[in-house]
Amino acid sequence: MNTEKLNTAKKQKRKYQVISLLSVCVFLLVWYLATAVFELVPAYSLPSPVKVLETFITKFHSKAPDGATLPKHFISSLQVAMSGYVLGAVIGVPLGIAMGWFKVVDKIIRPVFDLLKPIPPIALIPVMIVVFGISLQAKAVLIFFSTVIPCILNSYSGIRQTKQIHLWVSQTFGASNMQMLFTVAIPSALPMIFAGLRVAMGSSWMALVAAELLASTSGLGYLISIGRSLLRSDLILVGIFSLGMINIVITAIFNVVEKRFVRGGKAE
């Protein structure tokens, strides 16, 4: 009886998986038919999926028409993103923790932070361009900004949400203030901190693309903006899909790291 139930559940699941697969196939087929066979839309606005795949493959070794191969663009984007992101996380997380734990730090930094928080990092791009030019520095500072704010915000509220009872218990057992911070508050804030790091990754990636669209000479954002000025939408789509894929890979890495280091549930 029970195994039978399990079997039907399995069958159901398989059925829906097949439907999912079919749905993607139909999507690609419609796309292919609309572009390559019936030519409903002009090729410059939507190329066929085959063409996109071809461009994707040739971009791995060909430098035309934007001066660098796809892996090169990727590495240049990643380099910028990582330098800003790591700096932002290394400064933002401890600062947020300090703000959450020490009242004095909170009082001093809070107003500055409240002033900077509502500024979307994208709005800072023109300032960065005027101050630093279109160098790596400009983009790194921009990404630093878009990383540091969610990092501070989440570490801060993570520390603030530490259960009072846990703190009392550790106090009763004679923990010092520092011991309480490192053995109770920080571990219980970790899920929130990780959520902040995730949000920061998303927003810094977005800021990077915006910066590269506006002013740069390499990177995936640059690739798609060249695609636009040459009316090569296959190039744009290759760029967009590569951005999407990178995002998926980064999310997967985050999941693995989080599973490894964070005990107890995920933050909502």
Binding site: Y16, I19, I108, P111, V112, P120, A123, V130, V131, V209
Partner: protein, 262 residues
Amino acid sequence: MKIKLKEMGNSLFFSLIGIAAILILWTLGVKFTSVGLLLPTPLEVLQRMAYTFSNAIGRELTLPMHLAVSLRRVVIGFSLASVCGVVLGIAMGRFRMVEAVCKPLFELVRPIPSVAWIPLAIVWFGIGETAKTFIIFMAGFVNIVVNTYAGAKQVDENMLGVAYMLGANEIQAFFHVVIPSCVPYIFAGMQVGLSTCWMAVLAAEMVSSTEGIGWTITAGQENGDMTQIFVGIIAIAVVGLLLAVLMRWAERVLCRWRVRGK
């Protein structure tokens, strides 16, 4: 009560000191170091801001009018995104068939940063309003679908069971159980969506447009007019903050039974 008031006064005092310190440092930095070659003083920014309230930036629009242009775009794009996002999210969360068909396609679109749509939108729709609406739509849509879907997935099956047992039909159960328990999630999605939309409209206007608040800062950059850039940034931050507060307020009014973390 007295203690609370005192605490509030205390923190207000510290905030004022903090802000004053920033402004003074900023002014001193501009006046006495080489930073002054690049940045305006806060006073200059304020003066310019007051000036642009009645005088045009660019050809004809004043600062509030630029803001209004951008806000109009956001409102159109965001409303479309909310309607479509909520419908798709709930449908995906409640009907396995819809989920099976739409989820893989949605997963294809979800990881793409909304800003990356800008070049494609321009190729598809030109540089007019349609392109901007599309970009804003994409920015809001993804966030709203993700959250609504999560909300629709976690509807308590026991509650649904109770509703059915008490004789509710599908439609009644849907409107009285499913929707109310999704609302907090929908609001969470809309809150994130709105701030992403506000960012997307900036990016879209910075890449291609002839009016709007995003345009004023790129125009400032092109003319080397740092004061104008700062005026733009401050206006953007203030409006962004107001939008967030407005969403919070709407949430508090519309779903009183369950206020998410304060």
